[in-house]
């Protein structure tokens, strides 16, 4: 069995996109801010509807690439529908091959039964046995049973067939409301894995306002997730009504 640890030399890619509780969005955005990462590129895809964001007069693409030292980040601000999810996953694989990425870590959220509101947990799923050590060393419970659909599933499907091992961190969260609190456990777990220091004071102070601020993105994400769920289970009625 090949066991690999994260060394400071290897290129690691972190991926975040809107999903349950917007955990991936909050976690990766916060790391970009806290580590003062620099934008090094954008990912364009013909399937992605033409969307641009303007911030302080600067034009931004919805899917951007950031870097600091050996840490790369790909973040999507757009919730991805089933077709876009596959294109997004393929774009990530292409990017990894071009940039000699040796490991990927995806951050997402998951709803669990009997969730203890006071102590949310984090679970890990790995595509290659070589990453099991990371779960063990960082005391991350292994995601043992359940189903995954959406963008996470699209990325896992593609990467488990590739040579690039992928770790998916699932923080317990409220699936339909923005949950920045759940992202704090994801941030601290990521910091431990990457052996970096990240101060979470800033996000803790703003949790309530972030929940109000990102209502629209949450709604858009739920619509995309429901579309993905319906495509996977066409005979099942959605559980949520708005």
């Amino acid at each position: 069995m090949k066991i690999s640890k994260i060394t400071s030399q290897e290129n690691i890619l972190l991926v975040g996109f809107p999903s349950n509780g917007l955990v991936g969005t909050f976690t990766i955005s916060y790391l970009i801010h806290n580590l003062d990462m620099k934008q090094i590129g954008e990912i364009d895809h013909l399937d992605i509807p033409p969307t641009l964001f303007i911030e302080d007069g600067e034009i931004l693409s919805p899917i951007r690439v950031y870097k600091k030292n050996n840490i790369f980040v790909i973040i999507s601000d757009l919730p991805l529908d089933p077709n876009l999810a596959h294109s997004f996953a393929e774009s990530i694989l292409e990017y990894c091959k071009k940039n000699d990425i040796q490991k990927i870590i995806i951050v997402s959220g998951i709803e669990t039964i009997n969730k203890d509101l006071k102590a949310p947990k984090i679970y890990g799923l790995v595509t290659h046995q070589s990453l099991e050590e990371i779960l063990y060393t960082n005391q991350i419970s292994k995601f043992l049973t359940g189903s995954i659909f959406g963008t996470d599933a699209a990325i896992i499907t593609i990467f488990r067939k590739s040579k690039i091992p992928t770790l998916i961190l699932y923080a317990e969260c409220h699936p339909f409301f923005p949950d920045p609190e759940a992202s704090i456990i994801a941030i601290t777990t990521l910091a431990k894995i990457l052996n970096i220091e990240v101060d979470t004071t800033d996000i803790q102070k703003k949790m309530e306002r972030l929940r109000i601020q990102h209502r629209n993105l949450m709604e858009e994400t739920i619509r995309a997730l429901q579309q993905q769920q319906l495509e996977n289970q066409p005979s099942r009625a959605p559980q949520i009504y708005r």
Binding site: N34, E55, F177, P178, E208, I212, M218, E220, I240
Partner: protein
């Protein structure tokens, strides 16, 4: 690129649709909270996300088939909408349920800024005999 050094933590929002922006009542300073209604075998679970709210400032009212929630924010929330800075003081939303509400058995709980209302299903039925 804009340097992040002295910048506050902000997340860039994708507004792929602007329809939900119209849910907020800018004139009356009312925000529309996120809500979700889930069906279980014996009850409905209706949740509202109410950050920046104290339990004592929440008012829940209902009639035969709808539930309204109104809550005063503990501090003013400001947001820029359509290039104009707007201030909000309240959350307010009404949800119509697919079945009638049993007012005696309906319960509510507020934890971590989330209001959860449990509405037992009312059954007006007659028995079917199995042959």
């Amino acid at each position: 690129m804009i340097e992040n050094n002295d910048k506050e933590f902000e997340i860039r929002i994708a507004s792929s649709s602007i329809s939900s922006l119209f849910n907020d009542d800018i004139e009356r300073q009312i925000l529309s909270p996120l809500s979700c209604l889930r069906e279980y075998g014996t009850h409905w679970s209706l949740e509202f996300d109410l950050p920046l709210v104290n339990k004592k400032d929440i008012k829940i009212t209902f009639d035969e088939s709808s539930i309204s929630v109104e809550a005063k924010l503990k501090e003013t929330y400001s947001e820029e909408k359509f290039g104009k800075k707007t201030k909000f003081e309240y959350f307010k939303k009404t949800i119509t349920l697919p079945s009638k509400i049993d007012n005696k058995k309906t319960s509510a709980k507020f934890e971590k800024g989330r209001l959860k209302i449990i509405i037992p299903k009312t059954i007006f039925s007659r028995e079917i005999k199995i042959k």
